[in-house]
Structure formats: structure tokens, C-alpha cells
């Protein structure tokens, strides 16, 4: 699923808006697919907390997981990440354009 309305991007940003979750994203991006147990080591919170965070990230479409034996492996899903980036681009762009119009209006 992709971001349709401006406010549609909110859940993605909300998912990224927690330090622990951002740390998980970071470790997934640098370390590749990892199990919950691995992600928990040196994370500072319990395994269940990490599992919850992964659920939140998954619901925002930022991460995808599957089962391998007794462990559940998770990997990064970059599509929503790219869409969030695109949204920030759009906002910045509109703002620059608005500044340009204001400048033109003042200088006329």
C-alpha cells in the first residue's frame, strides 16, 4: 500500500518516531535480516518490547517478518521509507515555491 493523502503518511512517521524503534530500523538496515533475540541484545529493553515494536513497524509497512524454525526473522521494507522521503520532498518543494511567490510579490 502506498501513501495517498498527506495525512496518510502520519502512521509511517509515527512508527519512526520512537527511539527504540528507530534503533531497530537502524540495526536492520546495517545488519540485514535478524531475529527478535538478536535485535534484543544490547537494545536496553525486553524481548517482548522489541517484538511489540516490530509489530508496529510491520503495520506501518516498514518491516516484514517470517518464521524460520523457532525464531522469527525480520527485514527492512524500503518502499514506505522511500514514500516518506518523497513526502518530505514534496513539502519542502511546495514551501520553496511559496517563498518564491512571496519574494516575487514583495519585489514587484
Amino acid at each position: 500500500m502506498s501513501i495517498r493523502s498527506p495525512q496518510g503518511a502520519a502512521p509511517v512517521f509515527a512508527a519512526l518516531g520512537d527511539p527504540t524503534r528507530l534503533q531497530v530500523v537502524d540495526r536492520l538496515s546495517s545488519g540485514g535480516p535478524s531475529s527478535i533475540a538478536v535485535l534484543t541484545t544490547g537494545c536496553g529493553v525486553s524481548r517482548q518490547a522489541v517484538a511489540k515494536h516490530l509489530r508496529v513497524l510491520a503495520e506501518a509497512g516498514l518491516v516484514r517478518g517470517w518464521r524460520r524454525g523457532r525464531e522469527s526473522v525480520w527485514e527492512l521494507e524500503t518502499r514506505q521509507l522511500a514514500e516518506a522521503r518523497q513526502y518530505l520532498d514534496a513539502v519542502s518543494g511546495q514551501w520553496e515555491a511559496a517563498l518564491g511567490r512571496l519574494k516575487a510579490f514583495v519585489e514587484q
Copy 2:
């Protein structure tokens, strides 16, 4: 102030992670500097709610406000927006690199 550590970006994303706040950012980016009263019209929440959201956005460095007569005017601050975008780029980039290494390892 700029984003230093990965988790340092969390407050910025958290600020963007609310639909109402994202709507405010949107209107500021397309409509230029606006007063609280103006931002409130057609927003769906009370004026005080909008004021609170602007405070949150300001604390995240996404918005800047000043007083003009009896109204307080707010405008978008694009620096943090750009940094957030940069952070998303970095995460995606690291992930692509990790995928590349994995591919090389599998194919060797």
C-alpha cells in the same frame, strides 16, 4: 540544532507522526506563514489544540513562530525536514548495501 545520532531523529519523526500536525505542516508549506486562527479554520479541532501542535512542531525544530500584533504567525522551517529526509536516505542506502553484500555472498 541538527540530527547527530540515529535516535536523535526520533523527535522529528514523532512530531510528523500525527495527522493533525501533518495537516498543519501541509497548510504551512502550501499557504505560507499563517496565524493560529487561520490554521484552525477547517482543521477539525479547537484553536488550543492547533496551538499545542504548533508548540510540538516548534520543539522539533520544524516550525518557527513570532508575534505580529495580536496574532502569532508561524512558518515552516525546512532544515529539520531536510535532515529527516537525509536520515531516510542513509537508512535505505545502508540497506541496499547490505543486500548487495548478501547477494555477493550467495553468488560467490
